[in-house]
């Protein structure tokens, strides 16, 4: 039987509905971005398999305290993003804005620490394949975090204008999907670039 939707979906219960096209679009964008980072990490391990010594002579194994703090910040920002989403589902505008602001601050803190890290390495971009891969991969990820922060700022502006409701906060859902993805990629980068030289 064909069910004809007489009413616009705003009046239907969310449980009856699949995700809207915009969410699917963001999902496939995330897939293609995931393949991009997979290709880059594959390149990292490929180059590493060819290297005599990794990291090359004269470069210390990556320091772990700073990246672990950065990881905590990013995971924290994902949690606050979840808090924002849960809040708007209960129509709590304050909770939404607090969650978003915290997310942006935490991700901003991550970027600041990455800037600190970049200015305190004992190697430069063109020194070796190792340093090339390190800066290119973490740099590209940093750009992604910056884009997420920008989207977070737009969301804060829109939230303070009252654009989002418990039923309709699709923009927030889409950004949140991207946000969690960028954080997830970081975990792979952490494992590959920072931790694996210590254990493998």
């Amino acid at each position: 039987m064909i069910r004809t939707p007489a009413a616009p979906y705003d009046t239907m219960s969310p449980g009856e509905l699949g995700n809207p096209p915009g969410w699917w679009g963001m999902l496939f964008l995330v897939f293609t971005e995931a393949a991009l980072f997979a290709s880059l990490l594959l390149s990292y391990f490929y180059e590493r398999a060819n290297a005599v010594e990794w990291p090359p002579a004269g470069i210390e194994k990556p320091e772990l305290i700073l990246p672990l703090i950065m990881t905590a910040l990013l995971i924290g920002s994902s949690i606050t993003m979840l808090i924002a989403e849960t809040a708007i589902k209960r129509d709590s505008q304050t909770g939404l804005i607090v969650g978003l602001v915290l997310s942006v601050l935490l991700a901003g803190g991550f970027l600041a620490m990455q800037g600190y890290e970049y200015t305190h390495t004992d190697f430069a971009l063109g020194d070796s394949v190792y340093s090339s891969a390190f800066f290119t991969i973490t740099g590209l990820h940093g750009i992604h975090v910056a884009i997420a922060v920008l989207m977070g700022l737009v969301l804060i502006a829109r939230a303070s204008l009252g654009h989002f409701t418990a039923r309709n906060h699709n923009a927030l859902r889409n950004v949140s999907l991207y946000w969690h993805f960028v954080d997830l990629v970081w975990l792979f980068i952490l494992a590959s670039l920072y931790i694996s030289p210590h254990v493998l």
Binding site: I2, P8, P20, P21, A35, S39, S43, V129, L150, H163
Partner: protein, 627 residues
């Protein structure tokens, strides 16, 4: 009924004037632009091919110098792969996907407009290299270290790298658009077993784009870093590895062959039932074979690298996977033959081109199997045998179906018939010319003529075949010229097509030719895979209810598997943002290409501002939901 049409005409205004043409989000307009732009690149790449054939017509010819020759074969290959084959098929998809699934537009109409702008700008950026005297000249797969900073010091390779990554944005956005449209916007009742085969192939192709193109992007980013920021990824003297480029490139490159070929399969599978007057035999098998090809195509890339010295065990695995692809391809082929066998063939021009595809793809497929056998590959790789093979599979396997599609859908897109006799002449000139040009390349390859040489000596027995090929190339070119003349004549004096001149089975033929901006007056409900061939509803049974939706710029969204109508989707109004975003991205690309920091920053700033403006919701609440 009249009032319904009037209401639709009001909300779905057709573009008038230059501004509304530039800002239109109508998928049919964008589809036609896509086809026209890709055809334009096809013509200039073809002119490049003719210039190369003139150079090779005689031994020791001095028509083109070696540097010009290198530039032209690189631009020819890069253009045919990236700017012709893929976008021309996405042009068909843009026009046909919403019509075939009974929708009023793509899922993201503005993204659709953006894709076309970026495609156009990226193509022009690549070809503008001519005016800077810096054509990329290392072949379409651009191997390092030849393309690295030490060996290629000009800007040529940078034109290649930046414009290809730029273009990838368009292709990826187009693919996401196709997938979401096909998933979420099908007519109620169009469950997975009733989806037109062209839609299936476009969806599989789009998934392949999503997962294959990033490998190319990664390779291009790494090489760009090597060339512009002194990194060492591909530099063997600093423990970098040139072979990494080959892996990344072919992880993209082999799926890309199927990205081009599968939509062609879709066109062939669409045309055969119509001109055989019989529904497609083994529809589920063809669909499964398409998906299988899409998956396996990711596991065969090393067969482009059999001669580079990878361990034999690895090579054997990829040789096996390569041979494996013949199974789903064979299933498709047999299903087509069976459809023709069961039906009564009408030999009109679209079917003629399909027939040409049958012959040429069979030959190309056969040499493809030969290349899967490692000893043969090592003997003939990088010879004219390869050139013959990939022209048989890409020109025969994709461009012939494209011409079949052009002849088949021309009446739908323009409302006018092409002249049938002229169309048949087009086919025969192209078919004969193609075989004259490319069949002798098999022989030349076996005789040892390497690809990409700009000339050859006169005492080694290659003269006669090369001259013959050049004549063939002009015969082929004349065939394409006939099509252009036919298209122009048809535009001004072609017979009126009517809604369904071929008595075809799919939904695009249910509407007027050309379709109105809203496509369907009432949105259709589907109950079989060949909706236009359904028998009329018997007396006393209820007609399937058609869906009216005429009070706003809207269409239906449906569920993924069963295509149950799920919600009303508001469609965006025309918008200038896609154009502005593409301009911002172009400035960014130019900044990266020429290392102009101010241009890079301006481009990023424009793109950021435009994106915020674009995603900012319009005043009404209904429209806000499109986000």
């Amino acid at each position: 009924m009249a009032t319904l049409v009037e209401r639709l005409d009001r909300t779905w205004e057709a573009p008038t004037g230059a501004w509304s043409w530039l800002t239109s989000t109508d998928h049919k307009l964008i589809g036609r632009r896509y086809l026209g732009t890709a055809f334009f690149f096809f013509i200039i790449a073809g002119i490049g091919a003719l210039l190369m054939r003139i150079q090779l017509a005689l031994p020791r010819n001095t028509f083109l110098g070696p540097d010009t020759y290198n530039g032209i074969f690189t631009l020819h290959g890069t253009t045919m792969i990236f700017l012709v084959s893929t976008p021309i098929l996405f042009g068909f998809a843009n026009f046909m996907v919403p019509l075939m699934i009974g929708s009023r537009d793509m899922a993201f109409p503005r993204v659709n407009a953006l894709s076309w702008y970026i495609f156009l700008f990226a193509g022009l950026l690549l070809w503008s290299s001519i005016f800077f005297g810096a054509m990329p000249d290392d072949g379409w797969f651009n191997y390092v270290p030849l393309s690295g900073p030490e060996q290629s010091t000009g800007r040529g390779i940078d034109f290649y790298l930046v414009s290809i990554v730029f273009l990838t944005v368009a292709t990826t956005a187009g693919s996401i658009n196709v997938i979401v449209t096909a998933f979420k916007m099908r007519a109620p009742g169009m469950s997975v077993r009733r989806i037109p085969i062209f839609i299936w192939t476009m969806v599989v192709t789009s998934f392949a784009v999503i997962f294959a193109y990033p490998a190319l992007t990664a390779a291009n980013i790494l090489l760009y870093m090597d060339r512009h920021h002194d990194t060492l990824f591909f530099n063997p003297t600093a423990q970098g590895d040139p072979l990494l480029w080959q892996h990344l490139f072919w992880i993209f490159g082999h799926p890309d062959v199927y990205i081009i070929f599968l939509p062609a399969v879709g066109i062939v599978s669409t045309i055969i039932p119509v001109f055989s007057r019989h529904r497609l035999v083994a529809y589920p098998l063809i669909v499964l074979a398409t998906v299988a090809i899409g998956v396996v195509s990711f596991g065969v890339w090393v067969h482009h690298m059999f001669a580079v010295g990878i361990p034999d065990l690895t090579n054997s695995f990829f040789a096996g996977a390569t041979i494996l692809i013949t199974i789903p391809s064979g299933i498709q082929y047999v299903a087509w033959v069976a459809t023709i066998w069961r039906g009564n063939v009408i030999w009109k021009s679209p079917f003629l081109f399909v027939f040409g595809f049958f012959v040429l793809f069979l030959i190309g497929g056969f040499t493809g199997v030969m290349f899967g056998v490692i000893p043969i590959d090592r003997q003939v790789t990088d010879s004219y045998f390869v050139v013959a093979h990939f022209h048989y599979v890409l020109f025969g396997g994709a461009i012939f179906p494209v011409f079949a599609g052009l002849h088949y859908w021309w009446p739908k897109m323009t409302g006018r018939m092409l002249h049938e006799r002229w169309a048949q002449l087009t086919f025969w000139f192209m078919f004969v010319g193609f075989n004259m040009t490319f069949f002798p390349m098999h022989i030349l390859g076996l005789l040892g003529m390497p690809r990409r040489v700009y000339t050859y000596n006169d005492n080694i027995g290659w003269d006669a075949l090369n001259f013959f090929q050049t004549v063939g190339a002009f015969v082929l070119g004349f065939g394409v010229l006939l099509f252009i003349i036919n298209a122009i004549i048809s535009t001004y004096g072609g017979e009126d097509a009517g809604p369904n001149p071929w008595e075809a089975n799919t939904l695009e033929w249910a509407v007027n030719s050309p379709p109105p901006p809203y496509n369907f007056v009432v949105l259709p409900v589907v109950r079989s895979a060949d909706p236009l061939w359904d028998p009329p509803t018997p007396e006393g049974e209820a007609e399937p209810s058609a869906l009216e939706l005429a009070d706003g710029k809207e269409t239906y969204g449906s569920s993924i598997l069963d295509a149950e109508a799920e919600r009303v989707l508001p469609m965006p109004q025309d918008s200038p943002w896609p154009m502005f975003l593409a301009i911002g991205a172009l400035i960014l690309a130019i900044g990266l290409l020429f290392d102009l920091l101010p241009a890079t920053i301006i481009g990023i700033a424009i793109a950021t501002i435009v994106l915020v403006a674009w995603t900012w919701p319009p005043a009404t609440k209904e429209e806000a939901m499109t986000l």
